[in-house]
């Protein structure tokens, strides 16, 4: 059994298989890892290796098949209010304005709307969406919508952030800018972050550690510690150490025949 732990995230022998018409599909296979309180952990892996599945289990919206997962020492048995989730697509409500979309967690959790409206507006400014508070999602570009989704995950100041390829839809420039902003927010507010991405450089740039997953069924292949000093500027990408990490992870995929990583 898993040892009693006070790690922010403790995943032990976690497996998930989906029942489909042609039998069970194993999406996640006996995965074990820990994330310490306040740590920023990136997860990379080829498409279809179970990254989103892992995130949904941690978010409490998908039951695991076997093994266990704990958040701050308690077994996950449903959604919790101290996590913020950013999905692969923005998932905004078209009938809510940008600000109202950001305030969705506040409405659901019946918090003080007046107070959080200010917080939300400030955060929107932080992600470069000042002045868009009263617009509707369809008036925004895909990248702007994703930034609204990120703001929504931050608004109730959760202790943990689960992010599923949040910047996948952004152009390279905006993406780098968002990486810096995310690092800044994380350093200011000491959150535990689990950050899923397709991009190896992004994973290395942001993470204290990078979890590398195998192609389906997803298992943990490596756990790379990235000791680059913080705050990291975009220039670290040109350092030899950064290059070594990226090269190492890419090599892992090439051995395993990972495709688009």
């Amino acid at each position: 059994m898993a040892p009693v732990t006070t790690e922010a995230i403790a995943v032990h022998d976690l497996s998930k298989s989906y029942a489909t018409r042609d039998g069970a599909v194993v999406a996640l296979d006996r995965t074990t890892f820990d994330v310490a309180e306040g740590e920023f952990v990136s997860v990379v892996g080829p498409s279809g290796c179970g990254k989103s599945t892992l995130l949904k289990i941690l978010a409490g919206i998908l039951p695991a098949s076997s093994g266990d997962a704990r958040l701050r020492g308690t077994l996950i048995d449903g959604p919790r209010r101290d996590i913020g989730v950013v999905f692969q697509s923005p998932v905004l409500f078209p009938w809510r304005t940008v600000l109202d979309n950001v305030l969705l967690p506040v409405d659901v959790q019946r918090l003080d709307r007046g107070r959080y409206a200010r917080v939300g507006a400030d955060l929107l400014g932080l992600v470069g969406l000042r002045g868009f508070e009263q617009r509707y999602p369809w008036e925004l570009s895909g990248g702007m919508q994703q930034r609204v989704a990120i703001t929504r995950a931050l608004v109730h100041d959760p202790a943990m952030l689960l992010m599923d390829e949040p910047f996948g839809a952004l152009d390279a420039m905006t993406r780098e800018h968002m990486n810096l902003e995310l690092q800044r927010i994380w350093m200011e507010r000491t959150k535990t972050v689990l950050f899923i991405t397709h991009s190896i450089p992004e994973a290395v740039f942001l993470g204290d550690r990078v979890l590398v997953m195998t192609p389906r069924p997803g298992r943990l292949m490596d756990d790379v510690r990235v000791a680059l000093p913080r705050p990291r500027s975009l220039d670290v990408m040109n350092t030899p150490e950064f290059g070594r990490h990226v090269h190492h992870i890419r090599a892992l995929f090439n051995v395993k025949g990972g495709v688009d990583a």
């Binding site: 949904k56 978010a59 409490g60 989730v85 659901v108 959790q109 509707y136």
Partner: protein, 283 residues
């Protein structure tokens, strides 16, 4: 197309030309009035009916039947649709009947309903309600169930209760469907009321058409058809206005009255569903 000055001119011209051609054909070929009346004769009938106040009297009655039927039918349709969509047991017990009734032309029940509920207002309202019921039932069901899985996941990840998911997600998500249902239900209610009046009534425009038919008063019938199509048009516009109000957030609503030229990929849920309801549900 835009209603520019030139287009209005052309439209008016075409209308006048059509009427003139109709008048000319009737006069030149001396078509008997009990086959096809000339526009002038229809106009005279319309004037007589309106001036004497007879039409207005019957019109009010038919409108009352239609609106009552519409309200009762769509309210019931909405609530049962919600119950079916949200409760597995209700769905299990009701769904077979819904399927059975859906393909039945509801107006075929009009004779029975008149026998059961008499020649007065009640039978008309019930018949109108019966026809208006199904578009709402079907569209409410579809709308509530079609909430995007990712959005449901998001709500769940926020630890939202089922009630919150209903009020904050499913219901707003169903609105375009419900509005499309109302659109159809309005016209269906009018059809239901008129058909029930055909079967047996003491007042109403449908009854008036029926009695004119006995008297071979074709001009009169034409004049009432004219009124009915106007009524249908106005009722439809009213629903459309409400819909624009309710669905202020839907980008396709901004251009609901005129086909837009610049809608690249604006989702037109409402329109699609309206088409669907019209196909699947018979009056």
């Amino acid at each position: 197309m835009r209603w520019s000055g030139r287009n209005i001119g052309l439209t008016a011209l075409l209308f006048v030309a059509t009427i003139a051609a109709w008048e000319a054909v009737v006069r030149v070929f001396q078509i008997p009035v009990f086959i096809l009346p000339a526009p002038t004769q229809v106009g005279m009938a319309l004037y007589r009916g309106l001036a004497s106040g007879v039409y207005l009297d019957h019109l009010k009655y038919t409108l009352l039947e239609t609106l009552l039927g519409f309200i009762v039918g769509s309210a019931l349709g909405f609530f049962l649709g919600t119950a079916v969509a949200m409760n597995r047991y209700v769905e299990f017990f009701f769904y077979p009947y819904i399927i059975m009734f859906q393909s039945l032309p509801k107006v075929a029940l009009a004779p029975l309903i008149v026998v059961w509920f008499g020649l007065g207002l009640t039978s008309k309202v019930i018949n109108a309600a019966l026809v208006a019921f199904f578009p709402l039932l079907v569209n409410t069901m579809v709308g509530l169930k079609s909430a995007d899985e990712d959005r449901v996941s998001l709500m769940r990840s926020l630890a939202a209760s089922d009630q919150q998911i209903f009020w904050m997600l499913r219901l707003p998500n169903a609105l375009p469907f419900v509005m499309a249902g109302l659109d159809v239900a309005m016209i269906f209610a009018l059809i239901g009321a008129i058909v029930a009046e055909f079967v047996g009534a003491q007042r109403g425009l449908g009854m008036l058409i029926q009695s004119m038919n006995f008297n071979m008063d074709v001009s009169g019938q034409f004049s009432i058809l004219l009124i009915l199509s106007l009524v249908g048009l106005i009722l439809n516009r009213i629903i459309m206005l409400i819909r624009r109000r309710v669905m202020f957030w839907d980008p396709s609503e901004k251009s609901a009255l005129e086909p837009a030229t610049d809608d690249v990929a604006a989702p037109r849920v409402g329109r699609v569903v309206a088409a669907r309801a019209k196909e699947g549900v018979t009056p």
